[in-house]
């Protein structure tokens, strides 16, 4: 579903990616780990069609991102690390614009946007201009826009950083739901605990190369998808006595 082949990218003398290859199968959530400067964001931005590679290919739903632009992007959702918006638009206007460009049914898209916004605790501010939003709220809008169309491939670049705990829980549940429905999710984060509990597999980048890939069984992931604190939040949300 998402296939990365021999991806190479350098910034002058600095090699960010030196021939990275791996794939994310449908229904799989793959965590992308690596130190600062390991090339995670470069990889995700290249896969999202935001910056061209020096060599190699990225296939999204069998479409080369840098050849078959539109078909690849139609199947893709990208939640950016530093999202940018038309600051004068409200989040609802931004989402309505994206829904039209993506050719979504207006009624269904509106209902899904409202539902997701409620889950992310953003519904009361949907009609405020984006320029009035905090960092966390901007990240929520970016995440919401990335998954609004139930994409076949989701790319998350530190997507949950800045989310409050209940919203992070809701976002992770939504990613699991998308994966269950057949989406391939590539999730980059510095928070190893999130990756540990959310992902089915990890790809560890080091020196611009894939240093290692591991499955849940190999790293001994906890059986519970939620941490004890997350469980506490969930119980509170469900009205149970903690």
């Amino acid at each position: 579903m998402l296939r990365i082949e021999n991806l190479q990218r350098a910034y002058g003398d600095l090699t960010a990616l030196a021939g990275v290859s791996f794939e994310v199968r449908p229904g799989e959530i793959v965590g992308l780990l690596g130190a600062n400067g390991a090339g995670k964001s470069t990889l995700l931005r290249t896969a999202a069609g935001l910056q061209p590679p020096d060599a190699g290919h990225v296939f999204v739903a069998a479409h080369d991102v840098w050849v078959d632009h539109l078909a690849a992007r139609a199947a893709l959702g990208y939640a950016a690390e530093e999202p940018s918006f038309h600051e004068e638009l409200s989040a609802a206007e931004h989402l309505a614009f994206i829904a039209t460009v993506r050719g979504l049914d207006p009624h269904e898209a509106q209902i899904r946007a409202r539902l997701l916004a409620t889950q992310l605790d953003l519904d009361s501010r949907l009609d405020d201009p984006v320029r009035s939003y905090s960092h966390g709220m901007r990240k929520k809008v970016s995440f919401l826009a990335a998954i609004l169309h139930r994409p076949a491939v989701v790319l998350c670049d530190e997507a949950l950083e800045g989310f409050d705990a209940p919203s992070a829980l809701a976002a992770k549940d939504e990613l699991r739901t998308l994966a269950r429905d057949g989406a391939a999710v590539l999730f980059s984060s510095h928070v190893t605990e999130t990756v540990e509990r959310l992902c089915d597999r990890i790809v560890l980048l080091h020196g611009g190369l894939v240093a290692r890939t591991m499955t849940r069984a190999e790293w001994g992931a906890p059986a519970d998808a939620h941490s004890p604190l997350e469980r506490l939040f969930l119980d509170l949300a469900r009205g149970a006595t903690p």
Partner: protein, 406 residues
């Protein structure tokens, strides 16, 4: 950690030097040649335009008359420099990195000086023009007068830019609430001061439509809400209204038509400016991750330019009642096509330089300036320059697909 004597003034000086070096390095060889050529051409044009009236003044009133006229022209250049510094300072303080500056033990006066230095950069554009003015009057008065005049201009340039920047800071630093008690520059830096009252907007209508239509709707919304495109759009409407007013000026029909055409051309140029600003305001990372083709973007904006300019030209043709109907149809066509060429030049530079709006706008207006000068030197030559610009910008359109090659 061993502490040494802090030297914020030296640190800011070195920061400025490094910034200048980076900016120079960012201009490639071709761009430097283009900028030097533009400055030389505009300087030569200014010299040629100023020399004739200076010489006339010298014949009529001697050296003192030339001195008066040249002093007036140089004062205008200094005033223009002050206006540029004011504009640049306004833009700088609108997005000042307040918390970063506040966190440093740097005196407010040094921050103000740094901001002033940054604002003076665009005001340097007035210097080659002033130099050309000065050269034009050099042999028409005693050498000492000329030398003193140049020194006076330099002093006026420094003071006008200082005043322009100070006025911009003052306008922005009028504080309210707790921020009102702070010194002016601190008020600028406190981020809470820049928080505007946020009003929710009406919920959008979720509608079906092509990506082209979605972009056109986006433009309509943002052209009213965002100050950059709004100012240019209103400017175009006002220029078009002035163009219409020319028909009632009482001038002979041919002269009225010429006056009206000037207004129409300015309206077209401002509409091209709208296309530049509106296009370059689109966040690159947002657009490029969407299944939105270059064709959809181009069509959406080109169609809007066609509609607005066709309407502007139609109004002028309708008002040209002194001419027979076939002549008015001809006028509509012969105005609409060049107007569209001007505005399309802006659109093409915006698309090929997106999201670097400032560079796109400079290139666009620079090209129009050269075309205007060419037309003043040799009638109709400006249109040839414009066509060359349009071809050049159209050839660059394929760069949209390779963002980092731009």
């Amino acid at each position: 950690m061993t502490l040494t004597r802090p030297d914020p003034a030296g640190a800011l000086r070195r920061l400025h030097q490094r910034l200048m070096a980076r900016r120079l390095a960012a201009l490639n060889g071709r761009m430097r040649v283009v900028l030097v050529s533009l400055a030389t051409l505009l300087g030569a044009f200014t010299f040629w335009q100023a020399r004739i009236p200076f010489d006339g003044a010298h014949r009529a009133g001697g050296a003192i008359a030339t001195l008066r006229l040249e002093a007036f022209a140089l004062a205008a250049a200094a005033f223009a420099a002050g206006s540029l510094a004011h504009w640049r300072q306004s833009a700088l303080v609108a997005r000042l990195p307040g918390p970063e500056w506040l966190a440093l033990p740097v005196p407010a006066a040094l921050v103000a000086r740094h901001l002033l230095t940054e604002s003076r950069l665009p005001a340097l554009a007035a210097v080659p023009l002033a130099f050309a003015l000065w050269l034009a009057g050099l042999d028409l008065m005693p050498w000492l007068w000329s030398a003193l005049l140049w020194v006076a201009f330099l002093v006026a340039w420094l003071e006008c830019t200082r005043l322009g920047a100070a006025l911009a800071r003052f306008a922005r630093s009028r504080g309210d609430g707790a921020a009102g008690a702070l010194p002016p520059l601190m008020r600028l830096l406190v981020p809470g001061h820049r928080q505007h009252r946020i009003r929710a907007v009406a919920p959008p209508r979720w509608r079906r439509g092509s990506p082209t239509l979605a972009v056109a709707r986006l433009d309509r919304t943002l052209s009213w809400r965002s100050p950059g495109p709004r100012a240019r759009l209103f400017g175009a409407i006002i220029a078009s209204a002035l163009s219409s007013a020319a028909w009632w000026s009482g001038a002979p029909p041919l002269l009225a038509r010429a006056q009206s055409f000037v207004g129409f051309t300015i309206a077209s140029a401002l509409l091209g400016g709208w296309a530049v600003v509106r296009t370059c305001e689109d966040p690159a990372d947002l657009l490029r991750q969407l299944p939105l083709s270059f064709g959809a973007l181009w069509r959406a904006r080109f169609a809007q330019l066609v509609v607005v300019l066709a309407l502007f030209a139609l109004v002028q043709a309708a008002l040209a009642t002194a001419f027979p109907v076939p002549a008015r149809i001809g006028q509509w066509l012969t105005w609409f096509i060049p107007g569209l060429a001007i505005a399309t030049l802006g659109l093409h530079y915006a698309i090929t330089l997106h999201p670097r709006g400032e560079i796109a706008e400079n290139l666009y207006y620079g090209w129009l300036g050269v075309a205007l000068c060419a037309s003043l030197m040799i009638p109709l030559m400006g249109w040839a320059v414009l066509i060359v610009g349009l071809v050049h910008s159209s050839l660059r359109l394929s760069r949209w697909h390779t963002p980092e090659a731009r």
